[in-house]
């Protein structure tokens, strides 16, 4: 217990220290200022500009920026789709894996491009090394670079005055990869190999075990993918068991470092925002609101999992180590709870333990984290532009409360911004609740649920929440390979990703073009604890209003049935 608390506290301390360091660095990178890596990276950057004929000084209007985002992402989908279909004929396929089916290829391509990384396949069995590297690993970089560029463009809109443009997407995109994602992933990939994560292009090893059986050990270029899937909050693993696999996450140290990698950029971007706004308190205010919700969620999951499974209390079993079904010995309940919350809050969706086998309360928090649509830190970049919708709503409501026109960072929030911001309370519940409701009416689609009773409903709620929020977390018993789910989820992921990107850029463009007004006397300042509490309340009220009925039928019903000794 004391050790567990120390482990979780250390995580908090590391994140709080890392946030200003990485946040300041990223602010310099995106402003094009000189930084530690400039001497090495700037020449490479120039070469790429030349090859692609990019005019690095050409600033883009928000609509142009959005168009460039879409163009790059369409190309990404097509390339990844082709790789998955053709992997049998491509190199680095020592086991002669066949190409994926068209619908599975399309769903997987969309899933990676949107940063969801839903695994409707088993990585070690269904993908060649080429697909893992040139497909999955590369797409983790490209999807994250898209989201971070949009996040930064939105920050520019909020912090500029009377500017018609939001920067240049291509320049931001290249900088994200060269200055941030590549160096970080490279260093951590090597640390992970040192800890035992394989990195090889040789075919699987076959061994004869001590008792004389044959065991084939799946491995490959794992470390390079694990590092970037965490740092980019993508989450798609090399293995079916994702971060629970000892080759993906071999030690308590890798477990801790991978959790830090997940939260590093989403947390630090709040500081980057504060720096760009010329007032780091603005960044810390957002950080505090999200950290508060994060800590509450972590406490609930840790307590629920540490308490074990109530249905086993009548058996002669020692449950002092908590609910261990689906968990690894080396992580225990604290190391597992840390991942469950970190990966679902940030749109990563990686797992180091099977969420499906969590207690109802321990599983409800990850579900709610996903349903809040990246409100708690969120994915790299996408977390910030998703938060924008909540910021606009919170500012609007604060304005109504004090009877002043709502102002955020000197920008008047007006009809156009409010209309666009309503997208979150509209699209999120429609996708997350109506699509599963529809699926339940189709008997084939409903049969994808693995567990019976209220837990089955939780499975399908997680699946669609995960798709709309482009998170990728899953209750893995759910069979997402059925055509209805492949198509509905691909649709949900595309709408969930690109509608918010376009709307966020539109809000940013509209705000950026406005003149900053000096904060009016009597308005609500947005760097104070009062605003932090308001943000927390808005996020919580939105989540509770939209999802409480569904949660009552799923995890809450399961919890109370279990207390009554009921099994399904």
């Amino acid at each position: 217990m004391a050790d567990d608390t120390a482990q979780l506290l250390l995580f908090g301390v590391v994140i709080v220290i890392l946030t200003p360091l990485l946040g300041r660095y990223m602010a310099r990178v995106y402003a094009g200022e000189r930084n530690y890596l400039t001497p090495v990276v700037a020449p490479i950057e120039k070469i790429i500009w030349q090859i692609c004929a990019i005019d690095s000084r050409a600033e883009q209007h928000w609509s142009r920026y959005a168009f460039s985002v879409l163009a790059v992402n369409i190309v990404c989908v097509l390339i990844f789709y082709a790789i998955l279909r053709l992997q049998y004929y491509l190199p680095l396929n020592p086991r002669s894996v066949m190409g994926l089916e068209p619908s599975a290829s399309f769903a997987t391509a969309v899933s990676f491009i949107t940063g969801t990384n839903w695994q409707a396949y088993a990585g070690e069995a269904d993908l060649s090394f080429f697909s893992q590297m040139v497909g999955c690993t590369a797409q983790n970089f490209l999807a994250a670079a898209t989201a971070m560029s949009v996040g930064i463009a939105v920050m520019r809109g909020l912090t500029q005055s009377r500017a018609k443009t939001l920067g240049n997407f291509h320049v931001d995109f290249i900088r994200t990869i060269l200055y941030i994602l590549l160096p970080g992933s490279f260093i951590f990939a090597l640390i992970f190999v040192f800890q035992g994560v394989p990195q090889t292009l040789s075919n699987f090893s076959t061994v004869v075990t001590v008792e004389g059986g044959e065991q084939v050990l799946a491995h490959g270029p794992v470390a390079s993918q694990v590092a970037v899937k965490m740092f980019s909050t993508s989450g798609g693993g090399f293995f079916n068991a994702n971060g629970a696999h000892p080759f993906s996450n071999p030690t308590p140290l890798t477990n801790f470092l991978q959790a830090v990698l997940i939260l590093a950029i989403p947390a630090a971007l709040t500081y980057t925002f504060g720096t760009m706004a010329g007032d780091v308190r603005q960044g810390w205010a957002l950080f505090s609101a999200m950290a508060f919700l994060f800590v509450i969620g972590l406490a609930v999951v840790y307590a629920a999992e540490g308490g074990g499974n109530t249905l086993l209390n009548r058996l002669p079993i020692d449950q002092t180590t908590g609910n261990m079904e689906g968990k690894e010995t080396r992580f225990g309940t604290a190391g597992s709870a840390l991942w469950a919350v970190t990966a679902t809050a940030t749109a990563t969706g990686a797992v180091n333990s099977m969420l499906e086998s969590y207690t109802p309360m321990g599983g409800m928090v990850p579900l709610l984290n996903v349903q809040l649509n990246e409100a708690i830190f969120g994915g790299v970049g996408s977390g910030f532009y998703s938060l924008l919708f909540y910021i606009v709503l919170a500012t609007f409501i604060a304005g109504l409360m004090v009877g002043r026109s709502p102002v955020y960072l000197g920008k008047k929030i007006e009809v156009r911004e409010i209309k666009l911001a309503v997208l979150t309370p509209l699209i999120v519940p429609i996708g997350m609740l109506l699509l599963p409701a529809l699926a339940l009416q189709i008997s084939e689609a409903a049969s994808a649920m693995y567990n019976k009773g209220p837990h089955g409903l939780t499975e399908i709620l997680v699946a669609y929440a995960s798709a709309v929020a482009t998170n990728g977390a899953s209750f893995a018993g759910f069979d997402a390979s059925q055509p209805f789910h492949l198509n509905a989820q691909a649709l949900a992921m595309m709408v969930g990703r690109f509608s918010f990107i376009i709307a966020a850029l539109a809000i940013a463009g509209s705000l950026g073009a406005k003149r900053s007004v000096t904060t009016t006397v009597g308005g609500v300042p947005t760097h104070t604890p009062l605003f932090v509490i308001l943000m927390i309340s808005i996020i919580f009220i939105f989540g509770a209003m939209s999802f409480f009925p569904a949660l009552a039928l799923g995890p809450l019903a399961e919890h109370f049935e279990m207390l009554a000794g009921q099994t399904f």
Binding site: A241, T251, M324, E325, F475
Partner: protein
């Protein structure tokens, strides 16, 4: 429009080569050079120089003279991986755990069984058991190997990996390495082969 698309194609291709080929291949080269054992799966070799397993991957032990790993939802098949995906409220799960508990008590005596011994891990390949799970199996194994139980406890204790920096993770024992250590001890009279 066309210019924008041409730019997008060249940019994506270039960045794909950089992040999907140059990056993983450089990491592979360095990893193979600096950490060759870890980079190739932390294989453990037997007396004849042939690999007998990986230090990181569970393999099945059924012989009563060996420590047994945790139950596996994928039958210790290291080409696939995964957990049981059973809900905590699943009747199937509770029945399975009840069954495993009864079997464990039949072989280990009337005692409380550590939860890790009767639940499937997340990966199905968990190479570790908790110290409590090792102690629970000690009496059976000491008897079959004709060892004093105290001696066996000493071997177990020597194989406990503590928390990293005293706070990260859980204390644990690598089953394969512990069993190999037992097999390496001098043979005793009356011990089961």
């Amino acid at each position: 429009m066309l210019k924008e698309l041409r730019l997008a194609v060249s940019l994506v291709l270039l960045m794909t080569v950089l992040t999907g080929l140059a990056y993983p291949l450089t990491v592979t080269g360095l990893a193979q050079l600096i950490f060759p054992s870890a980079a190739n799966g932390s294989l453990i070799y037997g007396g004849d120089g042939e690999p007998i397993g990986s230090a990181l991957i569970a393999q099945n032990f059924t012989g009563p003279q060996y420590f047994h790993p945790r139950p596996s939802a994928v039958s210790y098949n290291a080409q696939i991986s995964g957990g049981s995906n059973e809900a905590p409220s699943s009747r199937q799960l509770i029945d399975k755990i009840t069954e495993r508990t009864e079997a464990a008590r039949a072989s280990l005596g009337e005692r409380r069984i550590p939860i890790g011994m009767v639940t499937a891990s997340g990966s199905g390949l968990d190479p570790h058991i908790s110290p409590a799970a090792a102690y629970a199996q000690a009496a059976r194994i000491a008897g079959l190997r004709n060892m004093a139980e105290g001696d066996l406890w000493a071997v177990i204790n020597a194989h406990i990996e503590g928390r990293t920096f005293s706070i990260l993770g859980e204390p644990r024992i690598n089953v394969l390495q512990l069993n190999l250590a037992l097999d390496a001890l001098p043979k005793r009279d009356g011990a089961v082969e």
